[in-house]
């Protein structure tokens, strides 16, 4: 986290319904600009994100919580291939790095679109998880939402969780 956070605790900002659309738009932009591919939003058929590859970025300041990107291993590999190349994307570490950077940029792009967050919410470096047998349980009461995008038949879930 940035050391500048230590100067003062900014007023907490609560998630608003419009944020879901903003998050979706931020994610589509990131995939388009950094992976060169247009992902289409899809109707969510389940409320639980699915996939065995997850990248997370912590958020602190006016909004405390995290943003995550989750998909299956094959979709993660395909996205990494778009960002680097097929040979490099054979390395699981590169796939994790790519998904982490996508998550980082989505979180950054999202907060840059919300004036009450842009200058007052900091991001952590990304964390990458392999495996799907886990449950995310925030330490404090929280609220959040999911959006889902489709790439080459694979779902890409973007989740925002905010401590309330």
């Amino acid at each position: 986290m940035s050391p500048s956070l230590s100067h003062a605790a900014p007023a907490q900002v609560r998630p608003e319904p419009v944020w879901k659309t903003i998050l979706e738009s931020a994610a589509v932009e990131v995939f388009e600009m950094m992976a060169g591919v247009r992902l289409d939003p899809i109707q969510i058929t389940t409320e639980e994100p699915q996939g065995d590859r997850t990248a997370m970025v912590g958020m602190a300041g006016a909004l405390c919580g995290m943003t995550s990107v989750r998909c299956n291993a094959e979709t993660a590999r395909k996205l990494a291939t778009l960002m680097v190349d097929a040979e490099a994307a054979k390395n699981p570490a590169t796939v994790g790095d790519a998904l982490g950077e996508l998550c980082n940029m989505i979180a950054g792009n999202f907060k840059s679109k919300i004036s009450s967050l842009n200058d007052r919410c900091m991001l952590s470096v990304p964390t990458f998880i392999s495996g799907e047998d886990y449950v995310l349980q925030p330490a404090t009461p929280s609220e959040g939402f999911n959006v889902a995008l489709l790439y080459d038949g694979g779902q890409v879930w973007i989740t925002l969780v905010a401590h309330s």
């Binding site: 932009e29 600009m33 960002m83 680097v84 950054g108 200058d119």
Partner: protein, 128 residues
């Protein structure tokens, strides 16, 4: 025109590749492209010889990009070399901090090759 010798500092190898590709897509005539994964490694690379351009992430382990730029002032071979910060940070305070430390500009991620060209061409003159 002499080929540019560039240093890219980012803890993500994927981002280093993307930045290099964007520089090429922006039309820069790149020569040697050096890479470092944090500020400490970046300083070591900068000491190895004259560079034409440095691009650095801000949030990195070991030594972040702002500290890296501050320390570059003490590296003889890096004097006068333009540094551009590449970051997801939307925080104006962090950007100002980087510029005050000595960076000449910044590019916010996500970015397009056109945005990279716009920022870089001002600093490296007629190479692009």
């Amino acid at each position: 025109m002499t080929k540019l010798r560039v240093l890219i500092v980012d803890d993500s190898s994927v981002m280093r590749k993307i930045v290099e590709r964007s520089l090429r897509q922006a039309g820069l005539d790149l020569g040697e492209v050096l890479e470092a994964s944090n500020g400490v490694e970046g300083l070591a690379e900068a000491q190895k010889g004259k560079l034409d351009l440095i691009l650095s992430d801000i949030n990195m382990p070991s030594m972040d990009g702002i500290e890296f730029v501050r320390n570059l002032a003490g590296v003889e071979s890096a004097k006068g070399v333009p540094v551009i910060m590449i970051t997801t940070e939307g925080s104006e305070a962090r950007v100002v901090e980087a510029l005050t430390a000595g960076a000449k500009g910044y590019i916010r991620k996500p970015f397009t090759p056109e945005q990279v060209k716009e920022r870089v061409s001002v600093l490296v003159g007629g190479n692009s």
